[in-house]
Amino acid sequence: MNHTAIAETTFEPVAGQRPAALASARTIHQVLTPFPVAYFAAALATDLAYWRTAEVMWERFSIWLIAGGLIMSALVALAAVSDLAFGKQRPAWFRALGYTAGVLVSLLNVFVHSRDGYTAVVPTGLTLSAVAVAILLLCAVAGGWNLTYRRGVRS
């Protein structure tokens, strides 16, 4: 992979006055987008383990993983907004919406997982974990981890 260092500390709040190199730099949020997906996928794995074993430890792993994934999702959202505002980017609507849908399913899921006992996971929590991971992986396979396009470029 041909790495391009992220231009650091050169963001300026005035639009249109940035060096050309920045426009071609990788976006910040792109680096972060895989994290929530990894958290939610891990939660799906621990959900499956809980479903098979009813061992409380797995359910606790799941709820922390989903909560952690949501915190990472919030960081992705912040980074994406910053990229849109300062990075000469425009939204990749299809991927951004798919990604948002996956995160919203996980938001629902964190509440279901906060229930006490077996029904925190089986069947609703486990189903939601699977749906969220399916949506997010589909988005990634279809279009990568970038939720924006560089302005003026179609990808």
């Binding site: 359910e59 006490d116 077996y118």
Partner: protein
């Protein structure tokens, strides 16, 4: 306040559909007010279908000071503050010479296993339940109770979240959260400085979800009965954490050996011997998060070897789907409790009335201190009720005796906990939010009129 607010406008379609789904599910859990608690009082409570929440309701009563106000009692009774300025008084015990022990205690720090435990901590703080754990017993000595106590002394200090107290002969037994400790006691003593001797360990940390260990001595003084609450709402910490919990222990006073007298009682918070039959009765706090009217807390006679359902089933054999693996063998012999007090009232104090000075109506019945709900709309409990008994069993609906713990804005001026009957026959109430001990006595010498409403 506990509802998710998602604004679906301007969100694209798929997201909007999902957001609406989230919002409707969340809102569905917000407007389900509980029904009339009266249909859940008595031998055959109405039990609605289980409801599982997305956002469990949290409805706490914000604490406000009493000022110069007092709780309310029906005509024929009067109430006044016996003493104020305690630190979270939880239970009361009356010594043979009339001295009253006030147990000031507030449980160990709860561990954080899941994100919701962080939220629970905040909620308890808002409800005024996070006071410092004084770990102390204070002694009050007073004459006929109409004036302030003549003596107030620190009776016993440096305990470990104490709750139950029982005197047998010249030994005072204190049920800390993790052990029963025995102290020598002589009549009239106002302070114990002697080292205690451990009689037996009790299930304590590291979780110690239900930490109070209620305790009563058998009439012959040979056994102690100890209420050991569960380590979770409904076994979500795993059944290994529930070893010998959710049970009433019978502890041999001579040896400290114990056996499980009854099990499946989620949180037995008070035990008394019914005076007419000599049977053991208990109050218990049932489980949360399956609806505003599930599961009713109860008052029941306790059968030797009896299993009362927790966690597998509630109110007899109603299965709880949150528990896996299930135990049909246990559920098939789960005993239905005798008398429902309605849901989430949190009974924490029990006193069978055997004295004479209150109106005759109260003779032989049970007073129950209902600490009050934190997860139900509208609020339930926050009062002391009276359950009449006849022939050794409850014989009518529970009557409100001491009310007014909530003000008009549903703020909690106090919350009743432990009860006791003092030497003069007056009812004492520990109030752990108002930090007061209240005393209820007859309003007049002639109390021909019976009570109740």
């Amino acid at each position: 306040m506990n509802c998710l607010k998602v604004n679906p406008t301007k969100l694209p379609r798929l997201a909007a559909v999902l957001a609406a789904g989230v919002a409707s599910l969340a809102l569905a859990s917000c407007d389900d007010a509980g029904g009339d608690p009266r249909v859940q009082i008595g031998a055959n409570p109405v039990l609605p279908a289980i409801q599982q929440y997305l956002v469990p309701p949290i409805r706490i009563a914000q604490p406000v000071p009493w000022g110069n106000d007092s709780p309310k009692v029906p005509q024929g009774l009067q109430i006044h503050a016996l003493a104020k300025g305690f630190e979270h008084p939880r239970s009361l015990y009356v010594l043979p010479n009339g001295d009253v022990l006030v147990v000031e205690s507030n449980g160990p720090k709860a561990p954080v296993f899941r994100p919701k435990d962080l939220i629970t901590g905040v909620v308890q703080k808002l409800a005024g339940a996070k006071a410092n754990d004084a770990n102390r017993i204070t002694l009050l000595r007073y004459g006929n109770g109409d004036s302030a106590p003549q003596l107030r002394s620190v009776f016993l200090e440096h305990l470990n979240s104490p709750f139950g107290v029982a005197l047998i002969g010249h030994y005072l037994y204190v049920a800390n959260t993790d052990a029963i400790v025995r102290y020598p006691y002589e009549d009239g003593q106002t302070q114990i400085t002697a080292e205690g001797t451990k009689l037996t360990d009790l299930p304590g940390g590291p979780i110690d979800h239900h930490w109070t260990k209620a305790m009563v001595a058998s009439p012959d003084g040979s056994k102690l009965y100890v209420g050991v609450g569960s380590n979770s709402n409904v076994a979500e910490n795993g059944m290994e954490a529930e070893r010998e919990r959710a049970a009433i222990w019978e502890v041999d006073v001579a040896t400290g050996a114990h056996r499980i007298y009854a099990s499946g009682v989620r949180n037995p918070t008070g035990m008394q011997f019914e005076p007419e039959t000599g049977k053991l009765w208990a109050i218990a706090n049932e489980r949360d998060e399956i609806g505003p009217d599930l599961v009713p807390d109860y008052l029941t006679s306790v059968k030797d070897g009896g299993f009362y359902g927790w966690p597998y089933s509630y109110y007899g054999q109603h299965l709880d789907p949150r528990v896996m693996p299930q135990r049909p063998d246990l559920v098939s012999r789960a005993i239905k409790p005798d008398y429902a007090l309605s849901s989430h009232v949190a009974p924490l104090g029990l006193a069978m009335y055997t004295a004479n000075s209150l109106p005759a109506h109260y003779r032989g019945g049970a007073f129950v201190g209902e600490h009050g709900s934190w997860d139900r709309t509208p609020l339930n409990g926050y009062k002391v009720v009276f359950v009449p008994f006849s022939g050794g069993t409850p014989s009518g609906p529970a009557e409100d005796v001491v009310t007014g713990f909530l003000d008009q804005n549903n703020h909690a001026r106090g919350r009743p906990v432990g009860l006791a009957v003092d030497r003069t026959g007056a009812l004492l109430i520990a109030d752990d939010v108002g930090d007061t001990v209240w005393r209820v006595s007859s309003a007049a010498v002639s109390t021909a009129s019976t009570q109740g409403h």
